[in-house]
């Protein structure tokens, strides 16, 4: 009992109440749910699992998401594509900045969850700070990466020709499993900065921050369905993440060679783009760059005739 009330005791002190009062008041425990289409349902399967920290403390009853949850999430993500990709890049930038603001405002809660999940206070604070700064970093990229990776191509015929990046569509992501927050934020941010929507499977053993991060998203002007977050087991869900015919790309962040092979094999069903991030140190600057955005972009090239270049005709 002493172990399970630890986190709520902390939250009470955060609220400025006397700690000694906590023993007199029955805590209100948070139900950790999943995040689909801007809503917080529990898994349709009704299943749960109970991850514990190193000290053996049970973290919570976490939703053990099912294939059906994933499919529902893909429907929500697909529905959100045209609205989100159609927004002005500047507006996407503002929404990502708002996400950072909301995360900053709930910093204490994330630190507390990270500490409960085996981090030290100092490390937890560093992780949350990095996650906030990472969102700021990508907020800035939203309306700039296109300029770096576009081209006006000097074709030899009488045409105007240019190439620009466009979002690939719906991206399924199996987030880095080693940490609770920073890896998750680091893989979501570039995907949505580029105008994609996504379905993300959180860390199996450290899932708390993912659900709380969904609450941050929910209060950040991010349209429902752009980011959908599931909790559960990669061993069970990975194949569905890469099997689905309405998913355009899959990101996988672990160095499990069997699973990587399975992902690449199954991705062939509709030629998903497959991206592996198993050697990235998310705690360093190599964990952020516009090249991560480009991993889920397609290059579109557009041609149009020009009259009278060097005496040429219309060039139809």
């Amino acid at each position: 009992m002493e172990k399970t009330i630890k986190k709520s005791a902390l939250s009470i002190s955060e609220n400025g109440l006397e700690k000694k009062n906590s023993s007199k008041r029955l805590e209100v425990l948070k139900t950790y749910k999943i995040y689909i289409g801007g809503q917080f349902p529990r898994t349709e399967s009704g299943r749960y699992y109970m991850p514990a920290n190193a000290a053996g403390t049970k973290l919570a009853n976490i939703c053990l998401s099912s294939r059906k949850d994933f499919r529902d999430a893909v429907v929500a993500a697909r529905a959100a594509v045209s609205g989100w990709s159609g927004r002005a890049a500047f507006n996407r930038s503002q929404v990502l900045y708002r996400m950072a603001e909301m995360l900053e405002g709930r910093k204490a809660q994330f630190i507390q969850e990270l500490v409960l999940q085996d981090s030290t206070k100092a490390k937890a604070e560093k992780e949350v700070n990095l996650a906030i700064d990472r969102l700021i970093h990508y907020a800035g990229w939203c309306d700039k990466f296109q300029q770096l990776f576009s081209a006006v191509n000097p074709v030899a015929s009488s045409h105007f020709n240019f190439s620009v990046p466009e979002p690939t569509g719906v991206v399924s992501i199996i987030a880095p499993q080693g940490d609770s927050l920073l890896g998750l934020v680091s893989v979501i941010a570039p995907v949505i900065a580029g105008g994609n929507t996504c379905v993300v499977l959180a860390s199996e053993t450290k899932p708390l921050c993912s659900v709380t991060f969904a609450e941050v998203l929910n209060s950040s002007d991010l349209p429902g369905g752009v980011v959908n977050i599931l909790t559960g087991k990669p061993a069970e869900l990975a194949s569905w993440f890469v099997d689905h015919m309405d998913v355009n790309a899959t990101i996988y962040c672990e160095n499990n060679s069997d699973r990587r092979k399975m992902i690449r094999e199954k991705s062939a069903t509709n030629l998903k783009r497959v991206i592996f991030y198993d050697k990235i140190n998310w705690y360093s600057d190599e964990g952020q760059s516009p090249y991560f955005i480009m991993d889920t972009q397609e290059i579109k090239t557009t041609w149009h005739p020009v009259e009278n270049i060097a005496g040429a005709g219309g060039g139809y």
Binding site: L148, N153, T302, W303, P305
Partner: protein
């Protein structure tokens, strides 16, 4: 003023097909090209007999006459070629200063230009495409592609902001039969410029110009093993894909084979570029310049007998102008000259192979069975060789197989639409996403359409244009990676912090 207008003569000429439209024959000469009786494998800078000891015939699809026989590389030959490429990569090519690498590629491009006429003749004899296309498009574009990428070799530091680059190693490349020399150039040029070495296999029905390119490479004194050309069919290709010491696969061909490749390289570190099938939507709005649009539609579907992965094979015409467009299209089709590919007046040559002709005929039968209305040009076809009349189907439904599946022949499916949103929905309702086209005189509508169409190459008021500086490649099941332009460098490089 009114009087003046009344007096003005109409300069619209009605097409009369009862009068003579025939041109005198204008054949290109075969004697300007040398084709050996037999070709071996080009491995490590030398012509080597295949360890498999097997050869297969390559024929002229316009006459069914045998042109030559080429070696069929077995797994042991592939291994030899990969070893040569690895050796050349480690010992020579990787270490060579980039500006020297560039000059080799420039040299190959120049030699290709010097032999342009011979290459065009062989391309037409071996593949069946009209000489005017191989002469004016395939060969010059192939040479230009080498020129373009040659210049990149010593400028890679400028291509990727804040990153250094390194080559991948040995690239295994497999090219299709529709643009044999051009595709070989599309594959070899960026690979060499970025410092990789190459094992390339052309399609089995059209090996000859790629073998001629091997002769050019030999003449250019490219260090042995940097480019190895081996011939064969699917099994040879599979041996390249599955070879453990190949770092990169670049494949142009069907979506089915592309999927097989993606499965085959699962669990390996191999990178891939896949340029696969397409079923491009070509959209004509009522405010389009109709005559130019009709010309564009003809070029979109009948260029290279329709053997074009980005061919505009689904035509969407706004309902109000459908009758007029179809009538003009029929008139224009009737004037297309079908026949001897070596004749400089020929518009539509021979179908590349008997197998492909059977596939096209199968789809024509399916189209009729599905209830679409068929019209074909009444041109006479030669008695020998593989031929298909230019064909259009109107009254096609979105769900018809001839509107969904790639036919890869001179067969156009015509559908109609009323609104912008409807046609976008229909155009994007395809597993493919290689190319698309839109015809309208309204600028804002062009950008609305080109932005919303899910395809890697979008032509507005034009179609089937290509350039070395212009990236080419697909969305969705049309594959991934780009060939051409700045974006064509990345598939052959690792970026390092």
């Amino acid at each position: 003023m009114a009087k003046a207008i009344a007096k003005k003569k109409s300069n619209t000429i009605k097409l009369k097909f009862d009068t003579s439209w025939s041109y005198a024959p204008a054949p290109e000469s075969k004697s300007a090209a040398t084709i050996n009786k037999q070709y071996n494998l080009f491995i490590n800078g030398a012509w080597q007999q295949p360890l498999s000891k097997k050869y297969f015939d390559t024929i002229n699809p316009a006459t069914e006459e045998k042109l030559s026989e080429v070696a069929e590389a077995g797994a042991a030959d592939v291994d030899k070629a990969v070893k040569a490429a690895r050796n050349a990569y480690e010992k020579v090519w990787k270490k060579m200063p980039a500006k020297e690498r560039a000059k080799y590629i420039f040299r190959i491009a120049r030699l290709m230009q010097e032999k342009a006429r011979e290459l065009a003749i062989i391309e037409t004899l071996d593949g069946g495409k009209p000489i005017k296309e191989s002469r004016d498009f395939d060969v010059p574009t192939a040479a230009n592609h080498l020129f373009y990428y040659a210049g990149w070799a010593d400028k890679l530091a400028y291509a990727f902001p804040n990153r250094k680059t390194e080559p991948l190693g040995v690239a295994g490349q497999i090219t299709p039969w529709n643009f044999p020399l051009l595709m070989a150039s599309w594959k070899i040029a960026p690979a060499l410029a970025t410092g990789n070495t190459v094992v390339l296999k052309p399609a089995e029905t059209t090996s000859l110009t790629t073998l001629k390119l091997a002769e050019i490479i030999q003449e250019a004194d490219l260090p042995p093993g940097v480019v190895n050309i081996i011939t064969g069919a699917g099994e040879t290709g599979a041996a390249i894909v599955n070879h453990a010491d190949v770092n990169k696969i670049a494949f142009t061909g069907s979506t089915n084979v592309g999927k097989i490749i993606q499965r085959a390289i699962a669990g390996t570190g191999k990178k891939a570029t896949l340029e696969l099938g397409g079923k491009a939507a070509n959209i004509i709005f009522e405010d389009a310049p109709i005559d130019q649009a009709v010309e564009g539609v003809v070029n979109a579907i009948f260029f290279n007998q329709g053997h074009v992965c980005c061919a505009g094979s689904r035509l969407y015409v706004q309902e109000s102008i459908a009758k007029e467009v179809i009538r003009k299209l029929r008139d224009r089709m009737q004037t297309l000259i079908v026949g001897d590919p070596m004749d400089k007046n020929t518009d539509i040559g021979a179908i590349n192979s008997k197998e492909q002709l059977q596939i096209i005929q199968k789809y024509i039968a399916i189209g009729k069975k599905e209830g679409a209305e068929m019209y074909e040009s009444s041109c006479r076809l030669p008695t020998k060789g593989f031929w298909c009349r230019p064909t259009i189907f109107s009254n096609v439904a979105q769900s018809n197989r001839i509107a969904q599946e790639e036919i890869f022949g001179p067969v156009l499916s015509i559908l109609t639409f009323r609104t912008d949103d409807e046609v976008i929905e229909k155009a994007n309702n395809s597993p493919y996403g290689l190319s698309a086209g839109v015809w309208t005189d309204k600028g804002s509508k062009i950008f609305n359409m080109t932005k919303r169409m899910r395809a890697g190459v979008v032509w507005a008021n034009t179609f089937n244009k290509f350039d070395p500086t212009s990236p080419f490649g697909g969305y969705k099941e049309s594959g991934y990676g780009r060939e051409g332009g700045l974006h064509g460098l990345l598939p052959y490089l690792n970026l390092i912090n």
